[in-house]
């Protein structure tokens, strides 16, 4: 029943148009399996000695046809596929889908669920920036920060596991609120984590940010001007590092983001170090948000009453959320049936990746790793 033979015997036939082109030029495959691509991104790089002439990404090595699959899943089921897309901000992805369904059905989410949702989003953002910080340092050759980053990430994972039941792909958001209430000692554990985390951020600064080798490797590398950032459709920390106001929590505030006071981090340099600084400072902002919310979680029920089978009315709905990587757009076109007619996920990584070729021209291979590290690419989010 399966084209097994076709796969096994043509293992030689990989779409590698890696043959050498001009004189002195070397075409190398930073192939689907490579430590720095953190996943299965295949880059065909044309080199002149060590300097890069052209970077050509080949995608699809983790294309799981999510959009085709979602056309046959009900409005409650398709939400949890998205936490497998950008698995580092799975809460925020589910949140985006739930918002879109609620916008379609005009469901009013109770205030307690709104605050819990924002708390979970910000904790996921901290965990995602932690992992990015560790992986970025490892790409530039420093192996130790990775383990410090995972020490904090494990504390957040334990908090999540206690409330949502899972560590990485927490299927916790439901159209209308959250699946069940928070765990009794959730607040205490989050407060302990905030206490511990404040001192740790300064430790990160002098371990990596203050390191002269790290600064030399990232300052002035991969400069993205403001117009280019907008034209390439970059969003999230990548665009904010070039001075573009694109924080969805500020532009189109959803849930309780308008009641919470935090500021949008903007840098103007637009190089890798600016992108790095934006994310590290965002950690502090997320901690500020969690601190303001953790003490005044309003009581009330955590889930609005919804019918068992949800049917969105005929029409199209679009909701935008700010994930750790940028602006995730969920675009549902429904024909009034129980399953969506068409779903499009506007993935932040896809547009950020389109700027990679423009950014890395003329740099060395070592710089390509620094640029890819600061773009914070999650490949299943790009391929969907």
């Amino acid at each position: 029943m399966y084209r097994e033979t076709q796969i096994i015997n043509d293992s030689r036939k990989i779409s590698s148009n890696g043959e050498d082109t001009g004189e002195g030029e070397l075409v190398i495959n930073v192939g689907p399996q490579h430590p720095a691509t953190h996943g299965v991104l295949h880059l065909v790089i044309t080199l002149q000695g060590e300097t890069i002439q052209k970077v050509e990404p080949h995608l699809g090595y983790i294309h799981r046809s999510i959009e085709k699959m979602c056309e046959s899943l009900s409005y409650r089921q398709f939400i949890y596929v998205t936490s497998r897309m950008d698995y580092l901000s799975s809460h925020i992805n589910n949140h985006g889908c739930a918002l879109c369904v609620e916008k379609g059905l005009q469901i009013e989410v109770p205030p307690r669920a709104q605050v819990i949702r924002v708390l979970m989003d910000e904790l996921t953002r901290i965990a995602s920036h932690e992992l990015w910080w560790g992986a970025m340092a490892m790409d530039l050759g420093a192996f130790t920060p990775f383990f410090y980053a995972f020490r904090e990430r494990e504390t957040i994972n334990d908090i999540m596991e206690e409330t949502c039941g899972a560590r990485l792909t927490m299927n916790y958001m439901v159209p209308g609120g959250v699946m069940y209430d928070i765990h009794p000692n959730f607040q205490k554990r989050v407060k302990d984590f905030i206490q511990l985390f404040r001192s740790k951020i300064d430790e990160y600064d002098d371990l990596v940010t203050g390191n002269i080798i790290f600064q030399n490797r990232t300052k002035g590398i991969g400069v993205l001007s403001k117009e280019d950032a907008i034209s390439y459709g970059c969003s999230g920390p990548v665009a904010r590092a070039s001075g573009v106001h694109c924080d969805i929590r500020k532009l189109y505030p959803y849930e309780v983001y308008n009641k919470v006071e935090f500021d949008e981090i903007l840098e103007t340099a637009g190089d890798s170090f600016a992108r790095y600084l934006v994310r590290v400072k965002e950690l502090k902002q997320s901690v500020r948000i969690v601190e303001q919310l953790i003490d005044n979680i309003p009581d009330g029920d955590f889930q609005a009453k919804t019918k068992a089978v949800l049917k969105l009315p005929k029409g199209e709905f679009y909701s935008i959320v700010e994930t750790a990587r940028g602006e995730l757009g969920v675009y549902i076109v429904s024909e009034g049936a129980t399953t969506p007619y068409r779903i499009k996920f506007r993935s932040p990584g896809f547009s950020n990746l389109s700027a990679l070729d423009h950014l890395s021209r003329g740099h060395k291979i070592g710089d390509l790793m620094a640029i890819m590290g600061t773009l914070d690419l999650v490949i299943p989010d790009i391929d969907r």
Partner: protein
């Protein structure tokens, strides 16, 4: 700018535009014919739409009305003036063709390659319209409603 002002500007530039305000943002119906000048006006004109954040395609063949219709959907917004519009273009399903916008918005280059591969829409004057995601020997356009793949697709 409110929807009214947007509508006046757009009718000035594209008289044949049809508006629909049921959704959250103003929907503009345009034809593939006078597409390129309209898009250039959108970018450089008073609306100053410099951020194309979503470009996708919908195959209406499963619905009773849109038997032979493939709609391209473009979401534009302006980072300066913060207004958003959705532009839709109806294409004939047997031979879908439209001018590329990748020379105006660089993000469209990858988005259009993805739509070309999954829907089969030909983008004219696209710098390198090649496969991006699917395997080289993949036949058919998977996201079309009438796509059948008995080997891989296990129906629920």
């Amino acid at each position: 700018m409110t929807n009214e002002e947007l509508k006046q500007h757009i009718t000035a530039a594209l008289p044949t535009a049809v508006f629909d305000e049921t959704g959250e943002w103003l929907n503009v119906q345009a034809e593939a014919g006078a597409w390129k000048p309209f898009v250039q006006w959108l970018r450089n004109g008073p609306l100053n739409m410099d951020y194309l954040f979503c470009l996708t395609c919908i195959d209406w063949s499963a619905t009773p009305t849109g038997k032979n219709v493939l709609t391209m959907v473009y979401h534009f917004t302006s980072t300066a003036a913060r207004h958003t519009i959705v532009v839709k273009v109806k294409l004939d399903r047997t031979k879908p063709e439209i001018e590329t916008v990748s020379d105006i918005w660089r993000t469209a280059e990858f988005l259009e390659r993805e739509v070309f591969e999954l829907f089969g829409v030909q983008f004219l004057h696209h710098p390198d319209l090649r496969r991006l995601i699917l395997t080289d020997d993949f036949e058919g356009y998977p996201l079309r409603k009438d796509f059948e793949d008995p080997v891989n697709m296990i129906k629920l």
